[in-house]
């Protein structure tokens, strides 16, 4: 039986697990998954990890591999998109306007949680948006960086942070937070999850690679809140 190994960013854990299970039912192929942060996965692939397919949570790490010509030529596509949203704990919602004139600092008390600003993708997008909205200077002292987007979500869910910036996919599945507003797509770089075949990918991998782009997979991605319009 053929085996296909996919390395995917941890935020895709549910969706990829579901899609793999469905694919295994249809095809006589075993899908092996490994979920970790995009950076870890990219470095592992660089060092010869037996990955066939890679989905990164940002473009940087995909480009990192592409620059080292470790990807199969022309296999890179922007598979998924996501939205950046401002959230608050369920009973602590406040009004916001995504506008430069809005006094964000006065709108909530306490901390604002998001991914670490320099290294974690969601934090990098968040910083761009905050700067674009001219909110950065007034809130930067109150920002708490986290290891990944899920950790930021937890802080808001627990009420430790009164506001947070996460992906729409994360906010959607939590019933303990409220989405206050989505950041305009123009306030930050496009959020994309690139997909590619690793150079050493087995022939069987192409089938699953194609399946990831199919309508069936799309349905599952949408179910978890991703956007597909970039495909």
């Amino acid at each position: 039986q053929d085996k296909v190994t996919i390395f995917a960013a941890a935020s895709l854990t549910n969706a990829i697990t579901d899609i793999a299970a469905q694919y295994e039912k249809e095809q006589a192929v075993q899908i092996q998954t490994s979920f970790a942060s995009s950076s870890t996965l990219a470095k592992q692939i660089e060092k010869g990890a037996p990955a066939d397919i890679f989905i990164s949570a940002d473009t940087k790490w995909m480009s990192y591999l592409q620059d080292k010509t470790l990807l199969k030529a022309d296999s890179r596509v922007n598979l998924l998109g996501n939205q950046l949203v401002l959230i608050a704990p369920k009973n602590k919602a406040f009004k916001v306007e995504m506008d430069k004139s809005f006094n964000i600092a006065g709108a909530f008390s306490g901390k604002l949680c998001t991914g670490e600003l320099e290294s974690v993708p969601v934090g990098i997008y968040a910083k761009q948006s905050l700067k674009n909205l001219n909110w950065w200077d007034t809130v930067k002292m109150r920002i708490v960086g986290t290891q990944d987007v899920r950790a930021a979500l937890v802080f808001v869910e627990r009420g430790e942070c009164d506001a947070g910036i996460v992906y729409a996919t994360d906010a959607k599945v939590s019933n303990k937070v409220e989405v206050l507003s989505a950041f305009p797509d123009t306030s930050h770089d496009l959020i994309v999850y690139p997909l590619a075949l690793v150079k050493t990918a087995s022939p069987a991998a192409t089938g699953f690679y194609d399946y990831l782009k199919s309508e069936k997979a799309k349905a599952i991605f949408i179910k978890y809140g991703f956007t597909i319009n970039l495909l």
Binding site: C113, S119, V144, G145, A151, F155, R158
Partner: protein
């Protein structure tokens, strides 16, 4: 080549923060760990296994889990943290003191085990001799048991200090990654590993960590040698 050793003020301040957190960590756990170690080494009681495994728990779980539990308990909205915050005005979440607590929890089992090992090796005949001279058991503990288990306590301290210097998962989960407040060396190193060009700056911080650890080791080795000499045992 040696340019890599010219550290920036921001790197130095990360180092200073790490050092502060690690030092407070060992100070915080020293007394409780020795007490628990003594209890585990010398007493038998119902629930001892439970206490034992509770102490070891942080070692056994992925560090995120203790970090998450700390958040549940000691966060500003946490079960206990709520009162700390409202009544005493102490806030552990997102502060360096929280980082101290997180690494203390992770280092605690190491400290306890070392101290326990040393205490259980202390010759009871000497404790009995001290008692026969009229020393109250507490007096015996402080004048006989404790000094004689000093090498183990120092071992515990260096393990705890090292563990605290390296603590990542529980810290970032409990107090986040906030510059000048909770961004210790491991958190800063981790951040650099997350960006494509981060290898070099990460390496610089790794070197700083190593230097700190080396310094601590040298001090602890000297202390341990002295402690061993004090109790009539020699290194060489």
């Amino acid at each position: 080549m040696l340019d890599i050793l010219r550290f920036t003020p921001s790197e130095i301040s990360i180092l200073a923060l790490s050092l502060k957190v690690a030092l407070f960590c060992v100070v915080l756990i020293l007394v409780p760990a020795v007490v628990v170690a003594w209890v585990l080494a010398r007493k038998s009681f119902f629930g001892k296994s439970l206490l034992d495994s509770l102490v070891h728990l942080p070692l056994v779980l992925p560090p995120v889990v203790p970090g998450f539990l700390l958040l549940l308990l000691l966060g500003n909205q946490g079960l206990i943290g709520k009162y700390l915050h409202n009544i005493f005005g102490i806030s552990l979440a997102f502060t360096w003191m929280g980082a101290v607590v997180a690494s203390a929890v992770m280092a605690f089992p190491l400290m306890v085990r070392s101290a326990r090992l040393a205490i259980s090796q202390v010759d009871k005949g000497l404790e009995i001799a001290a008692q026969s001279l009229g020393a109250h058991p507490l007096k015996v503990f402080f004048t006989i048991t404790l000094p004689l288990s000093m090498p183990g306590i120092i071992t515990g301290l260096i393990l705890a200090f090292s563990r605290s210097l390296g603590e990542f998962g529980a810290t970032i989960t409990f107090v986040g990654n906030i510059e000048n407040e909770t961004r210790t060396l491991p958190l800063a190193i981790y951040s650099y590993t997350q960006i494509p060009d981060g290898d070099l700056p990460a390496l610089r911080l790794v070197i700083l960590s190593m230097a700190l650890a080396l310094g601590a080791l040298m001090i602890s080795d000297r202390l341990e040698r002295k402690a061993n000499q004090n109790i009539g045992r020699h290194h060489d």
